[in-house]
């Protein structure tokens, strides 16, 4: 069975995110001043062949741990969407 899995990889909570900071500056140039914080990560979608949603999640977890995210700097969240 094919499962669609989404993974969000984000910079660790307390880590500086230079990109987010620079984009904040850009928003000010656009006149948008009500945004308090921006953090930028990656959104990754996978199509996984697995026997169950749980198994698909497991596989996604492995890909994220081993490759998609760098645990020194990033954390990830996995969602099986169907």
């Amino acid at each position: 069975m094919t499962y669609h899995v989404q993974i969000n990889v984000m910079p660790l909570k307390d880590l500086l995110d230079p990109q987010g900071k620079a984009v904040m500056g850009g928003l000010v140039n656009l006149g948008i001043k009500s945004v308090n914080d921006i953090r930028i990560g990656k959104h990754i979608t996978l199509e996984i062949e697995a026997e169950s949603a749980e198994a698909a999640k497991q596989i996604a977890e492995t890909t994220a741990t081993k490759l998609l995210a760098n645990p020194v700097m990033e954390f990830f969240e996995i969602e099986v969407v169907g």
């Binding site: 230079p18 990109q19 620079a22 984009v23 500056g25 850009g26 140039n29 656009l30 930028i40």
Partner: protein
């Protein structure tokens, strides 16, 4: 012809461009701060240059944030009135993000920054040796746009080998059809990834860049 060089936070070829125009090409030139808006003193006979570098750190997409600087609003109006605008490297990226030029510059095909001398095929002329230095210099556009660009002679430079052959092995970034630089349909807005300002000095042993400014009608 006077020149204005826009300085964005993160521009780092601004000094090189000012230096090249003033000292090597003997032009009148002024630095323009991105937060200012005024282009007073410039007429459509003059040229505004968007220099290379990493405006706003190249974060999000190269050129995406610079596009919204106050000075860019004036540059867009200036271009609409027929004023000459040249974007080099990051400046080219800003021009594409501003829709003053078609297409987009994406990450190099080999996913690495590349800095080296590269030959450029020019309209009718001999190949020129001009430095490239970029991480996101792969020009891309849809087929229709590309055909139009070529049909209207809007492609200014192609990456080529020493003999002038437009071959894949001479393409430093995977740009579609080896395109290194283009102009708009009206012929007043120019964008190119290679850095002509890095090749205008006898002391550095390469003056091919002067011919680039000449070809663009900016000398």
């Amino acid at each position: 012809m006077k020149f204005g060089v826009v300085v964005f936070p993160g521009s780092n070829c601004d000094h090189d461009m000012l230096d090249a125009l003033q000292n090597d090409l003997n032009k009148e030139v002024r630095a323009l701060w991105h937060k200012d808006k005024s282009l007073d003193g410039f007429t459509t006979e003059d040229c505004i240059v968007l220099p290379g570098g990493f405006s706003f750190g190249d974060y999000l997409r190269c050129g995406a944030i610079a596009r919204f600087s106050p000075m860019m609003q004036s540059v867009i109006e200036f271009a609409a009135k027929g004023g000459k605008v040249l974007g080099v490297c990051n400046g080219f990226q800003i021009l594409c993000e501003s829709h003053l030029l078609p297409g987009v510059l994406t990450m190099n095909a080999h996913r690495q920054f590349v800095c080296k001398n590269n030959y450029l095929k020019t309209p009718g002329g001999e190949p020129l040796l001009i430095p490239v230095a970029h991480g996101d210099g792969r020009f891309q556009a849809d087929e229709k746009t590309l055909d139009e660009l070529e049909a209207n002679n809007q492609v200014l430079f192609y990456y080529c080998d020493e003999q002038g052959n437009v071959v894949e092995s001479a393409n430093p970034n995977g740009a579609v059809r080896n395109i290194a630089g283009i102009r708009n349909k009206e012929g007043n807005v120019f964008g190119m990834m290679p850095h002509p300002e890095r090749a205008v000095s006898a002391t550095l042993g390469n003056e091919d860049g002067k011919k680039v400014f000449e070809l663009l009608g900016l000398l």
